[in-house]
Symmetry: C2
Subunit: 398 residues, 2 copies
Amino acid sequence: MAKLKGNAVVGQSGGPTVVINQSLVGIVKAAKQREEIGKIYGARNGVRGMLEEQFVELQDLPDRQLDAVAGTPSAALGSTRDKPDEEYCSKIFEVFRKNDIHYFFYIGGNDSASTAHILNGLSEKYSYDLRAIHVPKTIDNDLPVTDHCPGYPSAARFVAMAIMGDNLDNKSLPGVKIDIIMGRHTGWLAAASMLARQDSDDGPHLIYVPEVPVEMTQFVEDVDRVVQTHGRCLVAVSEGITDNKGELWAKKAQAVMEQDAHGNVTLSGTGVLADFLVSELRKSKSHIKRMRGDTFGYLQRCFPGVISAVDAQEAYLVGQEAVRYATDWAMDGSVAIRRLSEGAGEYKMETFLTPLASVAAKTKTMPAEYCDTPGVIKDAFLDYLKPLVGDLPVCGRL
Amino acid sequence: MAKLKGNAVVGQSGGPTVVINQSLVGIVKAAKQREEIGKIYGARNGVRGMLEEQFVELQDLPDRQLDAVAGTPSAALGSTRDKPDEEYCSKIFEVFRKNDIHYFFYIGGNDSASTAHILNGLSEKYSYDLRAIHVPKTIDNDLPVTDHCPGYPSAARFVAMAIMGDNLDNKSLPGVKIDIIMGRHTGWLAAASMLARQDSDDGPHLIYVPEVPVEMTQFVEDVDRVVQTHGRCLVAVSEGITDNKGELWAKKAQAVMEQDAHGNVTLSGTGVLADFLVSELRKSKSHIKRMRGDTFGYLQRCFPGVISAVDAQEAYLVGQEAVRYATDWAMDGSVAIRRLSEGAGEYKMETFLTPLASVAAKTKTMPAEYCDTPGVIKDAFLDYLKPLVGDLPVCGRL
């Protein structure tokens, strides 16, 4: 089969991570080695930049600059929340034709896989040779098929360290502390807080995730019970927790607490859920004197320097492999990770390519194997998580 | 003069820091070397543990354990919010007599200096030989006399790195982002966010501190102006900002946003101020589509691993020196830091002892030399701050 010659475009989409630029640089460095790939266009702000021809040429950048970009958090090309439909993608196609673009690499979550899927469909319809590869990225870890998502291990590391510090803080000035953790409608990131436990007294004492609904009465009684046992209670809460009817607690919180609620539920970038949970506790458990709520917010996905080494390597690798699948294999799809080692042994992985349709617009929640009781994450989850996050500081104690 | 023989007690008070245990271990290691000091009692939860004779003996702990404690965030002995009066201190004195305690070391902020001052006065009244030393600690940097407070440089480093990451995040998905930063009624910590600027486009674009009041109309117009110039706006806001009448914006926010406000203004552990500021912006600047607010919260004072090397060394040193002042000098007072080098030259410092009354219950705000206009911190502040915080990551860009 003749090699498909042409230019490539790469874009970044959705909420950034601290390693999304590793994937970008993995793609650029691998694509530079391919004679069939000419120019490598970086699209500013993802599909938006493709639509508006906002490109920066990446093929001639020095390795020193690329390496600096790879080690920098957030999307160096800029990101977007645009979720293109077929019409939007048709217009992108015109830009592809005009610029002789035949390789499309899109780093993002399941919306980005959908975009790649639509473009892939259009390329067949138009009989236009296009390799469309989705490169996985999300701190939420909610993409199907892949064992885990690049970006998640570093965010998990941030959450584990944050909760480790907050546990010591809460121990020194005892009371109830509620920490809201990202993750959209899955609990993968909040569950990572359990890595903070090093001592039998350590929090988080309770971890609530969207996969296991919780009623307010149970939440309040759970916290009170822990306070009676430990004299304090550190609670990790997913931003996406719901009641038994599946209604978001964040939505109820915004209805109660915000003056200007327009019906749009903002999961991140607001402290409302933490404040609401504290206020519910105060209503019936006023004997607990010290109650505080923090929302970890955007720091979970952008804090420089808190990066899992495994994550950085894998994020680079999935970018590199995307180019290999598009060129050597001449395939379309979403790059995924398969774990080769089991349990506590040496961690090994490999990549594989999964059909775009298997990832597009789909969400993977935590299985019952890891959680089936409100407030509790099972130890089995630690076997999955530990190799990804790396060693954590060990706390000295008196 | 004969050496004062007896046991020592050490306690930790107020909001912990990531280096407060360095001071504890500095005291313990130095006191172990002194033949005039017998037992070293660690008081659980500060003065509360002294009152209730909740002691842990520290003189025989192995260096390995002490070193591990020194590197661990938060108060290893536990902390307290108790602010003892003379009656409370009289009861502590009974415990001192009973346990032959003649050396008192208290690590904390200006309330802790007050406690040391009261105990010092009582020792004269009772003609009881007691050396009372206050060892400075606060992320707020608001103690008078000393050039800066141990704990502050590490928290400043956390804030600088957090804003650096959030600036990249905000650049990739443009909009208004408001970040609330600790510091009580001073702006030292929020002002440290300016270290995040590496490029002319970088945020924080505005920094509001309590030392320079701001009206809501000005805040809103400032933000809008930056959005018109940069297409986005990252704002660092001290939790203690006020209007022109000196009323806390946090207080107004709680009155408007919270259902269960009891008149107590909580500066930390709530996301209300960020949410209120976002809601005020939405009212008049609804053309700005993306608006988010985060409150950095307790992570600023407890996040493991984000520690300024200068801060860790100095926190240990002030503990060590406290023992030297109490023994060799037979003096009471508060340990302070004097900066020996000026400007951008090599950073050097020494400690000195200042009277307890000069620190007790007093607050040092930022001088007009560093800030006199709402939203703006002057470059002169960087000369003060940079040597304390250490090198920061350099961001790669496309």
